[in-house]
């Protein structure tokens, strides 16, 4: 049997690879970056919502299951440049640095994931202009290393604001969908900071809090146990105080129906999830259907969320829409099973 190609080494791709290997199927894992682990590794995720487990505790066992196994051929720093259907599956061209090799594969799992929204596109928040306006993916690394300091002067912040739905639920930037993670991750960050530094005030500005299902517990606890403050309304603009370096967040408190203008030492933007560059490229190479949002569309999103509808091509993880790590891992398992069944037919 020709190997099964897994495209993308994030949680979904790692999970698919691990399951395929445990089924004894030869697997070719291709990752664009020079490391495995996807966005969680790239941005040094700290604790993971909702259970507040360190990201390493979740990612490392996944990585262990795919490294050093005879069934798994790992190709890092490699991208797919061509894919053609053959009698037995696909013939794919893989390019790394300066060489391109062609390989025969029996089935394909697209686990090409998401990219964080580029917060500079919401210019009113001053991201990229004011050093103390951070994207929450950058704050993850800071919390992870316990170095939550203002980039502008290296001093510890006294008051931090989170702005949710930056580049999500917004037709102005063309992203009307919900990122599903922004609420939980922002609240989790506020909790982590309040755990370690109770002297820092944490404010979350929100339209709706979507800590769906059992994750709601995190939202409640953030108030009950950690005193995180929630203000309903969006910040519409961020400016810098005259003669100082504090940021001024201007918005409407929509519960009290009155304007708010609050100084902060640091403002954190919960940037949304967009289809990853790899996802767009893979869609073109394999001719898989793409929805209006740019994510890959399963043929039956309810009955079979991992089938593309194109024989031999399967989906896993955030390539089909914003997803949490547990969901990505589950889909990796499902896609592995479907790809294995197809390759063995």
């Amino acid at each position: 049997m020709n190997p099964i190609l897994v495209l993308g080494g994030g949680p979904a791709g790692l999970s698919a690879t691990a399951e395929l290997a445990s089924l004894g199927a030869p697997t070719l894992l291709v990752e664009r970056e020079s490391y495995l682990g996807g966005n969680p590794k790239r941005w040094h995720y700290s604790l993971l919502a909702p259970d507040l487990r360190p990201a390493e505790e979740v990612m490392d066992p996944l990585l262990e299951r795919v490294t050093g196994r005879p069934e798994v051929e790992l190709r890092l720093g490699t991208t797919l440049t061509k894919a053609e259907r053959t009698a037995t599956g696909f013939s794919v061209a893989l390019r790394s640095a300066d060489t391109t090799v062609t390989r025969e594969v029996s089935a394909v799992v697209l686990a090409t994931g998401f990219d964080h929204f580029d917060s500079r596109r919401k210019f009113e928040y001053g991201y990229g202009r004011y050093p103390d306006v951070l994207d929450f993916k950058e704050l993850e690394g800071m919390i992870h290393d316990d170095k939550v300091l203002r980039p502008s002067d290296g001093r510890p912040p006294k008051r931090i604001a989170w702005i949710l739905c930056v580049g999500s639920r917004d037709v102005q930037v063309g992203n009307p969908w919900c990122c599903r993670m922004g609420c939980a991750v922002s609240i989790k960050q506020a909790v982590e900071i309040r755990q370690k530094h109770p002297e820092i005030d944490a404010y979350v500005y929100y339209m709706d809090i979507r800590t769906y299902g059992l994750w709601e517990d995190l939202y409640w606890k953030s108030m009950q146990e950690y005193g995180v403050k929630f203000i309903r309304g969006r910040i519409g603009q961020v400016t810098v105080a005259e003669g100082g370096s504090r940021l001024i967040a201007t918005g409407e408190d929509t519960i009290l129906s009155r304007p708010t203008e609050v100084p902060f030492d640091m403002i954190v933007l919960a940037s949304g999830m967009e289809p990853g560059t790899g996802t767009k490229q893979a869609a073109e190479l394999f001719g898989v259907p793409v929805g209006p949002e740019g994510f890959l569309t399963p043929r039956l999103s309810d009955l079979n969320p991992v089938d593309s509808g194109i024989p031999g091509v399967f989906f896993a993880g955030a390539a089909t829409g914003p997803k949490a790590i547990p969901d990505a891992v589950t889909e990796g398992m499902g896609a592995a099973l479907r790809a294995f069944q197809y390759a063995r037919r």
Binding site: G233, I235, E252
Partner: protein, 278 residues
């Protein structure tokens, strides 16, 4: 005798005096509407909801408040574009009526709310629909609100503009930030210079901006006539409307005279002929 028994008796029904002259305020503090006003409010509500623009402008609302954040009027008045949109979307005849009494006139129609809205609503647009209705129904409150603007309205309707660049003070240009006052050390830009940023075709002073060609005036009048603006205005301010119509007629006569003069001149000339029609 217990204290309770000695208390004066209170009933839920109105006293005879109250029946004769019902209170002018409701419990919520708003003025009680007359039967006639309630009727007008119901008609306005129906017309508002039936207006094709309603369906197009009001899409939905997440109540995020970004429209109000960017709104210059919300900083100075008890006004919120979010509230206006909520009333347009979910309100009833009474809330719409209340909003149309005063609040809609706080909007400066700058359309910043539209630019901010992440749901794609045309908030400033729906406010202008409310304004149209309040004018066309000749609401007493609208008459009162617009009374001080007769001069502006006359200028707008006859020459198309009422502001000249030398009337603009830096205080009105807060969005230019501290630079506009010239206090900034880096830019050294004064309000005088910033005013030059106004597009050149409106860079006119009070000496010239109210002098427009007869043709421009007549085009404006034509628009007001064809779109029914004059009829709308008649219900609100008949005197002003009559005055405007007088001005229109005057300018039309001017135009006819000018054309005749031009044709006379043409008759005495040879060579290619250009037409001159209105």
């Amino acid at each position: 005798m217990s204290i309770v028994a000695r208390l004066p008796r209170r009933t839920l029904s109105l006293t005879e005096e109250e029946e004769a002259a019902p209170p002018t305020m409701e419990l919520t503090g708003r003025r009680r509407m007359t039967a006639e006003e309630r009727g007008t409010a119901a008609t306005i509500f129906q017309e508002f909801r039936a207006d094709r623009r309603h369906r197009e402008f009001v899409v939905g609302c997440l109540n995020c408040g970004e429209c109000t954040t960017g709104c210059p009027a919300a900083r100075f008045y008890d006004f919120s574009p979010r509230e206006m949109l909520q009333i347009a979307q979910n309100g009833d005849a009474t809330t719409l009526w209340d909003a149309m009494q005063e609040k809609i006139w706080a909007c400066c129609q700058c359309y910043t709310c539209n630019m901010r809205c992440r749901f794609g609503n045309d908030i400033a647009g729906i406010i202008s629909v409310m304004r149209e209705l309040s004018v066309s129904h000749g609401l007493e409150s609208t008459r009162r609100t617009l009374a001080p603007f007769g001069r502006s309205l006359t200028l707008l309707m006859t020459v198309g503009t009422q502001v000249a660049s030398d009337m603009i003070q830096p205080d009105f240009f807060r969005d230019w930030g501290p630079f506009a006052t010239g206090s900034d050390k880096v830019w050294q830009v004064s309000a005088e210079v910033m005013r030059k940023a106004i597009p050149s075709d409106v860079l006119q002073t009070t000496r010239s901006s109210w002098e427009v060609s007869v043709q421009t005036s007549l085009e404006l009048f034509r628009i007001y006539e064809e779109t029914g603006v004059l009829d709308m205005l008649r219900g609100l301010d008949p005197d002003l409307t009559e005055m405007l119509i007088d001005i229109i007629e005057e300018r039309r006569e001017e135009f006819v005279e000018a054309r005749e003069r031009f044709q006379d001149q043409l008759a005495g000339q040879t060579g290619p002929v250009t037409t001159f029609s209105g």
